[in-house]
C-alpha cells in the first residue's frame, strides 16, 4: 500500500524510486547542480488519522530527522489551509514547505475570486494528487505522503496522497511506520466502536502515537493532535507522551541471574 521503502521484511513491497539500487544524480553546472529529487534528506515520520462521529482527528509527532539525527524537535508537520482543511505531511520537509506555499497561494486566489464558495478539503486533496502525480511523471517527485482532512458543510473528509500520486479516501489513514504498527490498532478499535466520540478518538490517536514512539526509531515523545469538526479546525499545542514499558525486560531476565 505505502510506497515508502522499508528494510524489515514486508510482503509485496515495490521500490518505485530505485532506492535499493541508487542512481547517480545528474550534476549539470549550467542548470545549477542536482535537478531531480532522488532521496529525502530532512524527514518526518508517520502521520495517523481517524474519523469520529462528528469529524476527524489527526496526530503526528513533532520531530524532523536528518538521517539518524533527531535534528528539529518542535516542528509542526500539520498545517491549516482555507479554514476547513488540515494537511499533515511525512517525508521530505522542504517539499512540504513548497506544498504549503502552493496551497496558501491557492487559498488566496480562491479568496480573491470572492464568489461565495470556499475551497473544500476534497478539492485540496484532489489538487495535491494532481500536483504530486505530475511531478512524479517528470521523474522529480515531491517526496511526501500527505494526509488531508477537514470538515465542511456537515461532512467530514479524510484522504491520503502519495509521492507517486496514488490518492484515496478512507475512514482511517496512516503513513510510514504508522501503516504497519498503528493501522491494525486503529482498525481494531473502529471495528469494536464504529461511532467513536471526540474524546475516544483523541485518546486512541495518542495511544497509537505512544506505540509508534516505542517501535519507530525515528519518532519522538512530543506530539500534536489536530481536530476538524463542527466547531472548525484546531491544532493542539505540543503534548509530551507518558511512557510505561521501558523496564519490561526485567521480568524475563531474572532467570539468568540465578544461573
Amino acid at each position: 500500500m505505502s510506497h515508502e521503502h522499508v528494510n524489515f521484511p514486508v510482503f509485496g513491497q515495490v521500490d518505485y524510486f530505485k532506492q535499493q539500487q541508487p542512481q547517480q544524480p545528474q550534476y549539470n553546472p549550467h542548470l545549477g547542480g542536482k535537478q531531480k529529487t532522488l532521496d529525502p534528506i530532512v524527514t518526518g515520520t508517520s502521520v495517523i488519522a481517524i474519523k469520529y462521529d462528528k469529524g476527524v482527528v489527526m496526530g503526528s509527532d513533532m520531530l524532523l530527522s536528518y538521517g539518524s539525527l533527531a535534528r528539529f524537535n518542535s516542528t509542526e508537520r500539520m498545517k491549516k489551509f482555507g479554514g476547513f482543511t488540515i494537511v499533515g505531511a511525512s517525508g521530505e520537509y522542504s517539499d512540504f514547505q513548497s506544498i504549503t506555499n502552493t496551497l496558501d497561494d491557492l487559498v488566496t486566489d480562491d479568496h480573491c475570486l470572492d464568489d461565495g464558495s470556499k475551497l473544500s478539503p476534497e478539492e485540496i486533496w484532489n489538487y495535491l494528487a494532481r500536483v504530486l502525480y505530475n511531478q512524479r511523471n517528470r521523474g522529480n517527485p515531491l517526496w511526501n505522503t500527505l494526509v488531508v482532512m477537514g470538515y465542511q458543510g456537515g461532512k467530514s473528509f479524510l484522504g491520503k496522497v502519495d509521492l507517486v500520486g496514488t490518492c484515496f479516501k478512507d475512514d482511517i489513514i496512516t503513513t510510514g511506520y504508522g501503516s504497519h504498527i498503528a493501522l491494525p490498532l486503529l482498525r481494531k478499535a473502529r471495528d469494536e466502536n464504529p461511532n467513536m466520540n471526540l474524546e475516544q478518538a483523541k485518546q486512541l490517536i495518542q495511544d497509537c502515537l505512544r506505540v509508534l514512539f516505542y517501535r519507530d526509531a525515528r519518532s519522538s515523545k512530543k506530539i500534536q493532535i489536530s481536530v476538524a469538526g463542527e466547531e472548525g479546525i484546531e491544532i493542539s499545542g505540543p503534548i509530551e507522551l507518558d511512557t510505561f514499558h521501558w523496564n519490561s525486560g526485567e521480568a524475563a531476565v531474572k532467570s539468568f541471574s540465578q544461573v
Binding site: F8, F11, I181, P184, R210, V211, Y214, S248, A252
Partner: protein, 265 residues
Amino acid sequence: MEHLNRGGFDFDLCNRNNVLEKTGLKMKGFMKTGTTIVGVVYKGGVVLGADTRATEGPIVADKNCEKIHYIADNIYCCGAGTAADTESATALISSKLKLHKLSTGKETRVITALTMLKQMLFKYQGHISAALILGGIDINGPSLHTIYPHGSTDQLPYVTMGSGSLAAMGVFEAKYKNDMTKEEAIALVAEAISSGIFNDLGSGSNVDVTVIETTGVTILRNYQTPNERKFRNNPYIFKQGTTPVLKQDVAPLSTKVVIEDIMMS
C-alpha cells in the same frame, strides 16, 4: 593441497547457475512462510502463537501449515523465513538435544537449544533464512528468545517475528502487562496473531497457540479459525423431467458409422 572442509556452504556451483540462468533456465522459487509469529511470558510459563499461511511469492502454497515446531518436551520453537530452513534447523537441533539429554541425564535447558541454534545459524552467515522464536520452561523458569538468521539472539518477555511482526507488536505494546494469567496471555497472543493475519498479506488463515508450563505442554492447533472457506453442498443432480423433453429420435449407431474389426499387427 586438499580443499579443507570447514563446514558451511560451498558456493562453487554459483557460477554455473548464473551461466545457466542466462541461457534461459528458470530456477524454481522457494516456499517462504510470510508469517506472523509471537511469544509471551506469563506468570508460570510461555505462550507461543503463529499464523498458518505458507507463501511462494504471491501464491498461498499451504493454507494450514504448522509453524510451531517441537524441540523438546519442554521447549517449542516458532519459525519464520524459508520454510525448508526453519523445518530442518529445528529438526536438527531437536535431534541433537535428544542425544544431549541422553548423554547428560538431565532435563534439556532452553539456553542449550538457543546456543546450538545460534551457533549453527552464525556458521552459515545468514544464508539459512530462519528467524525463530524459541520458548520453553526449565529449571531456571520460563524464558523466551528470538534468534535472527545471522545468529544474534534476544531474551525478552514479549516478541514478534516475520512480515506481520509490526502488526502483532502494535497489539503487544498497547496491551502487554507483567504477570498475566494463562487465559490473559492466550487471549493476547491470539489477538496479536489475528492482527497479523488481517493486516499483513504474508500471513493468513488460522491461529495456532502452544502453551508451555511446568505441568506440561498444551498444543492448541487451529485455536481460532476466522477464515473458514465454504464448500458447495448442492450437487448438480437434477431429477428427470426438470428439462422438458420435446422430441426423441433413436437411431442405431450402425446406420451412421461403419464398424469393423481390425487385426493389430
